[in-house]
């Protein structure tokens, strides 16, 4: 499948909704927890077992983004969005069959393995195209798409809950819910497949800089540069710090104010989790757009430096003031989201647009490690502190100190990032443009 080239007069403002149609769908992954209790009761599963489909999906996300990035660059965004649609929807349909026949392994295979491939390919599918359409505002463009990944769970969580309430939480109700999810997401994502176009030539908008401005580095060369691995460390540290709060947000706020005059109830802690989700989403579009104005290196100084200060404030004064605790946690989560959304534009600054999608896919392996590291640190330390007889905010103090240390490591890595040496640049980037321009534009 050749990349779909935009016809004359195609608006670049049609590309962000195409990206959002995919990201809002695959963002459903973070709402998997809605299905856990019904699956546990209807199929007799443990909590660990019911988490398997989600865990496998996240592993497959990382692997398919890392290894499928080059294919996405070669075949274009429409191919990638089609693969994502087919895999993500098929994952639900296979899971529906699994629930209907009470074969749990089919749910793990469907949602986790097949659907997970859809997550990874879908996540990176619009990134390169958006950067090429918005060379003047790459941070804002990728911020819109990656905000969608955060927004997907906001939509799916209440939607899936209502569906299970209507269909029932037995295995046939779950099967019907999976079936409706698979079909609905196929229809919703098809907008992205139909709308996405790559720009004609290297200057999609009059007055905007050329997409080939600056150095161009292939994905194969990029992973041999220190810049790639420094940025890998930056992303890994930033994500670990965010997940450290996100993963245990509800019990954390209850523990912090357990002995205060205004303890936090279970329903109030759910409100805190919702606020963190809002901050995460707002950070994706807000901070990433800001990076277009102040530069990528500076925005990561803010994420990592101010993030460390926020953790220090929570560790020192968090249990004395609920507003301070909530505010600091929201700022940290906005940096967490911002870090995800800004990294494609940072990669574009360092390695150019030539294979930025493939490089982004490889960088997302940092997310996979952070996804294990963050929860592991916070949970392991909290359990040990509890066994040592501690309670309240003391359960988390050591975790927060470690998080500050990780953010300082990330800050130092960011400081070490310099422009890529010229020996890694590809010699004739113009040839790529000529190839793209030779293709026939598609009709609208």
């Amino acid at each position: 499948m050749s990349p779909p080239v935009a016809p004359a007069g195609w608006s670049r403002w049609l590309v962000p909704p195409a990206a959002l149609a995919v990201h809002l769908s695959i963002g459903q992954a973070y709402a998997w927890s809605v299905f856990k209790p019904p699956l546990e009761s209807s199929l007799g599963l443990s909590g660990t077992e019911s988490a398997l489909p989600f865990q496998l999906a996240i592993v497959m996300l990382g692997l398919s983004a890392a290894f499928g990035g080059t294919l996405v660059e070669r075949n274009g965004p429409r191919w990638a969005m089609t693969v994502s649609l087919v895999c993500f929807s098929s994952g639900f349909l296979i899971s529906a069959l699994g629930a209907a026949t009470q074969q749990y392994w089919l749910i793990v295979l469907g949602y986790g393995f097949v659907g997970g491939i859809g997550l990874g390919i879908g996540y990176i599918s619009p990134v390169s195209t958006l950067i090429k359409w918005f060379p003047d505002r790459p941070g804002m463009a990728t911020g819109i798409a990656i905000m969608g990944f955060g927004g997907g769970a906001l939509i799916a969580s209440p939607w899936s809950t209502q569906m299970l309430a209507s269909f029932g939480t037995d295995s046939s109700g779950i099967a019907l819910a999976f079936l409706v999810h698979g079909l609905s997401y196929a229809v919703f994502m098809s907008l992205g497949v139909l709308l996405v176009r790559v720009p004609r030539g290297e200057r999609p908008v009059e007055g905007a800089p050329s997409v080939l401005q600056g150095p161009q580095v292939s994905a194969g060369s990029a992973i041999r540069t220190p810049q790639f691995w420094l940025l890998w460390v930056v992303l890994c540290m930033n994500v670990t710090a965010g997940i450290g709060i996100l993963e245990k947000a509800a019990p954390m706020i209850q523990d912090f104010f357990k002995d205060s005059s205004t303890p936090v109830s279970v329903s109030a802690s759910a409100g805190f989790v919702a606020l963190l989700s809002a901050a995460n989403m707002a950070g994706r579009i807000g901070w990433s757009s800001t990076s277009d104005l102040i530069g990528r290196k500076n925005i990561y100084r803010v994420y990592l430096g101010t993030g460390a200060v926020m953790y220090a404030l929570i560790a020192l004064f968090g249990d004395s003031s609920k507003p301070l605790f909530v505010l600091c946690a929201m700022v940290i989560l906005s940096f967490y989201g911002g870090g995800f959304a800004t990294v494609p534009a940072y990669l574009k600054d360092l390695f150019g647009t030539y294979q930025v999608g493939a490089i982004h896919g490889r960088l997302l392996t940092a997310w996979s490690l952070a996804g294990v590291l963050g929860p592991l640190i916070v949970n392991w330390i909290a359990d040990h502190q509890k066994n040592a007889g501690k309670s309240g905010s003391a359960l988390y103090e050591l975790s927060f100190i470690i998080m500050i240390g990780l953010l300082v490591v990330g800050f130092a890595a960011n400081e070490l990032i310099r422009p890529v040496d010229a020996r890694h640049h590809i010699p004739t980037p113009k040839e790529e443009t000529v190839d793209v321009e030779r293709q026939q534009p598609e009709s609208a």
């Binding site: 004359a8 939607w159 919703f188 329903s267 919702a274």
Partner: protein, 44 residues
């Protein structure tokens, strides 16, 4: 000149509005549900 104007690209604004509505409507629903939940932090 008249030949140029007859080949002008079609107006994409209705398509842009439809595309943004397609993705915006569910997002507004999600944000509404989020606000409902978030207020529980302050109301208990």
């Amino acid at each position: 000149m008249s030949n140029d104007s007859s080949q002008s690209p079609p107006d994409r604004r209705p398509l842009i509005a439809f595309a943004w509505l397609w993705v915006g409507a569910p997002l507004v629903y999600g944000l509404y549900e989020l606000v409902q939940k978030a207020t529980k932090l302050f109301t208990g």
